[in-house]
C-alpha cells in the first residue's frame, strides 16, 4: 500500500519534470530574471496619484459590470440548474441541459469577451455579456450539484403528500439548498469583479483597459494605481461577503449565533 503510494508520488514528480522540459519551463530563467523584479518594484512605487480619480471611476464601471453580469447570470442559471438536477428530472431533460452548460463552460470569460466584442463592438456591454455567459456555465453547475445534494428525507416526506413538482421545488428544494446557493452567488460575484478587471485586455470595458495599456508602455507606476484600486476593492468585497456569509449562511447551517 505504502509502496504503491510512493510509486504514484514518484510518477507525478517525474511527470512534472518531463512536462517542464517539454514546455521549456526552466527555473534557471527565473533566477536570471529576478533582478527585473527589483526594477519593476522601484517603478511601481513611483505612484502617479493624479490617476486615482480615473482609477476610481473605472473601478466603479467594473463593479457595475460584474454586478449586472452576476445578477442576470444567476437569474438564468437557477431555472437551468433545476432542469439539470437528476433528482428532479428524467434523463431526457437533464442530459441536454448539462451538455449545454458544459459547452458554455468550455470558454473562459476572456474568450467570451472577444466573441462579444466582435458581436456588439468594443465597450463594457461586451464585458457584461461575457460575464453572464461565464456565470451561467459555472454557477448552474454548482447549483445543480447543490440541488442534488438536498436531503432526501424531506423530499420523500413531502413527496408522499402528493404535491406537484413546482411545490416540491418551492417548499423543499429551494429552502434546503438556499444557503449553498447564496454562498455560491457571493463567491461568483467576488470572482466576477476580479475577472471583469481583466476583460479590458480585449477591449470589453472596465479597469483592465487602463492596466493593460500602461503596462504595454512600461508605465508601471501608473498601472500600479489601478492595481491598488483593484486590490482595495477586492478586500472590501471580501470583508462584506464574510459578513453576509456569517449572518445568513453559517447561522442557518449550524443553527448558531456568530459573535461579531
Amino acid at each position: 500500500m505504502n509502496q504503491k503510494n510512493n510509486l504514484i508520488i514518484g510518477l507525478i514528480i517525474a511527470g512534472v519534470v518531463v512536462m517542464s522540459v517539454n514546455v521549456d519551463a526552466d527555473p534557471r530563467d527565473f533566477a536570471e530574471g529576478l533582478p527585473n523584479i527589483g526594477i519593476m518594484l522601484k517603478e511601481i512605487t513611483e505612484v502617479d496619484s493624479s490617476l486615482f480619480v480615473t482609477a476610481f471611476w473605472s473601478m466603479l464601471e467594473t463593479i457595475q459590470m460584474a454586478f449586472i453580469g452576476t445578477v442576470v447570470g444567476v437569474a438564468i442559471s437557477l431555472p437551468l440548474s433545476l432542469l439539470a438536477a437528476r433528482n428532479l428530472n428524467n434523463k431526457f431533460v437533464y442530459v441536454p441541459i448539462r451538455a449545454l452548460l458544459a459547452a458554455i463552460r468550455t470558454f473562459p470569460s476572456i474568450l467570451w469577451a472577444i466573441l462579444f466584442v466582435i458581436i456588439v463592438g468594443l465597450g463594457p456591454f461586451a464585458g457584461v455579456l461575457a460575464i453572464i455567459m461565464y456565470t451561467v456555465g459555472f454557477i448552474a453547475k454548482l447549483q445543480y450539484e447543490a440541488i442534488e445534494a438536498t436531503d432526501a428525507d424531506p423530499m420523500d416526506a413531502v413527496g408522499a403528500i402528493g404535491v406537484s413538482k413546482i411545490q416540491l421545488i418551492r417548499f423543499v428544494v429551494l429552502p434546503e439548498s438556499a444557503s449553498h446557493l447564496l454562498s455560491q452567488i457571493l463567491y461568483i460575484f467576488d470572482y466576477n469583479i476580479r475577472q471583469t478587471s481583466i476583460l479590458g485586455l480585449v477591449g470589453a470595458g472596465g479597469i483592465g483597459f487602463y492596466i493593460i495599456n500602461y503596462i504595454k508602455f512600461f508605465e508601471y507606476g501608473k498601472a500600479a494605481v489601478f492595481m491598488l484600486v483593484v486590490l482595495a476593492t477586492v478586500l472590501i468585497i471580501e470583508w462584506v461577503s464574510v459578513r453576509v456569509r456569517d449572518k445568513y449562511i453559517v447561522k442557518s447551517q449550524r443553527g448558531m449565533q456568530i459573535k461579531s
Binding site: D153, P154, M155, D156, A157, V158, G159, A160, I161, G162, V163, S164, I166, Q167, R170, F171, V172, P175, E176, A178, S179, S252, G255
Partner: protein, 273 residues
C-alpha cells in the same frame, strides 16, 4: 398462511381501510424484506406494528403510502392500489399523513411554513409558488399548531426546536393534510419516556377527535400495547403475532409459529442489551 394461498381476497371487509394479501417486498429482488404479509386494518383502528430494527416494519409503511410497490401480493388502501405514479392514487395521497422516522422537516423554514406544506394539495401551483395561503388555511394551521402544543412557536425556525417539538411539527404537518390515515415510523423511539408519552398523547387525542386510522411502527412492545388496540409483531419480515387489547385482556389473533411467551422474551432480551 400456506393454506390461504389461492383463495382470492379471503377477508376483505368494507370496514378495512388497509388490506394486504400475501404481500412480499424486496429492494434488490433477492432477499425479501417482507414475506407473505396478511393484514387487515379496519377504519378508525389504532394499529401498531412492532419489531426489531431491520425487521421490515418501515417498509410496511412505505408500501401503504405507495412509495414502494410489493414484489408479490396485493395491497388495497381505501380500495385503491398504492402507486405514486398513478394519477388516481396521487389525488388521494393527501389522505395519508406520513411521518417518516427522520421526520423530513425543512430545517431552514419556520414551523408554520413546514406545517402549511400539508395544505399544498389544496393550493394552486401559482399561489404556492409565491407561498400564498388563504387566511382560512393559515388559521387552520395555527389551530392545529395549538392542538399539538406548539402555540407561540409558529415563526421559529425548525432547526431551533427540541426533538420533541420537531415531532410535534411533523404531526401538525400530517394533520393539516386533513388525513384519514396517519402513518408514523418510530416517532418516539429516540425520546425519553416522559416526552415519548407526551407525543403519544398528542397523537391519541388527534386520532380520537379527527377520527383517524393510525398505523404506527414502534420499537417498544410495551408502548405499543399501551396505546394501540391492535399490535402486529414483525420478525425477520414475517408477521409472527397479532394481538389485540380488549379491556384489560390481551386477545390473540394470530400467533403463527411462535408462542406469545417466546415473542415477549425476544423483546425483553432486547431491552436488556
Amino acid at each position: 398462511m400456506q393454506e390461504q394461498k389461492g383463495s382470492t381476497f379471503p377477508s376483505i371487509s368494507t370496514l378495512s381501510i388497509v388490506q394486504m394479501n400475501d404481500v412480499s417486498a424486496s429492494y434488490d429482488s433477492k432477499d425479501y424484506v417482507l414475506k407473505n404479509i396478511q393484514m387487515s386494518i379496519s377504519r378508525g383502528a389504532n394499529y401498531a406494528i412492532v419489531g426489531q430494527s431491520g425487521s421490515g416494519k418501515s417498509t410496511l409503511l412505505r408500501l401503504i403510502n405507495g412509495m414502494m410497490s410489493p414484489t408479490k401480493g396485493k395491497i388495497m388502501v381505501d380500495y385503491k392500489t398504492p402507486n405514486t405514479s398513478d394519477k388516481k392514487f396521487k389525488s388521494m395521497m393527501h389522505k395519508i399523513g406520513y411521518i417518516p422516522q427522520n421526520l423530513g422537516l425543512i430545517k431552514n423554514s419556520t414551523v408554520l411554513e413546514n406545517v402549511l406544506i400539508g395544505a399544498l394539495p389544496r393550493v394552486s401551483g401559482f399561489n404556492s409558488f409565491f407561498k400564498k395561503f388563504s387566511n382560512s388555511e393559515i388559521d387552520n394551521a395555527k389551530k392545529i399548531l395549538k392542538q399539538v402544543g406548539l402555540q407561540g412557536k409558529a415563526e421559529r425556525k425548525v432547526y431551533m426546536l427540541s426533538g420533541g417539538e420537531k415531532r410535534r411539527v411533523a404531526i401538525a404537518r400530517a394533520l393539516v393534510q386533513k388525513p384519514e390515515i396517519i402513518l408514523a415510523d418510530e416517532i418516539v423511539s429516540e425520546l425519553d419516556h416522559v416526552t415519548a408519552r407526551e407525543i403519544m398523547e398528542v397523537l391519541a387525542e388527534a386520532q380520537a377527535t379527527m377520527k383517524l386510522t393510525a398505523i404506527m411502527v414502534h420499537h417498544d412492545l410495551q408502548l405499543a400495547l399501551e396505546y394501540a388496540d391492535r399490535v402486529a409483531v414483525i420478525k425477520e419480515g414475517e408477521k409472527v403475532l397479532e394481538i389485540g387489547v380488549e379491556g384489560d385482556r390481551i386477545v390473540d389473533f394470530q400467533s403463527g409459529n411462535y408462542t406469545q411467551r417466546e415473542i415477549l422474551e425476544m423483546f425483553t432480551n432486547e431491552s436488556k442489551e
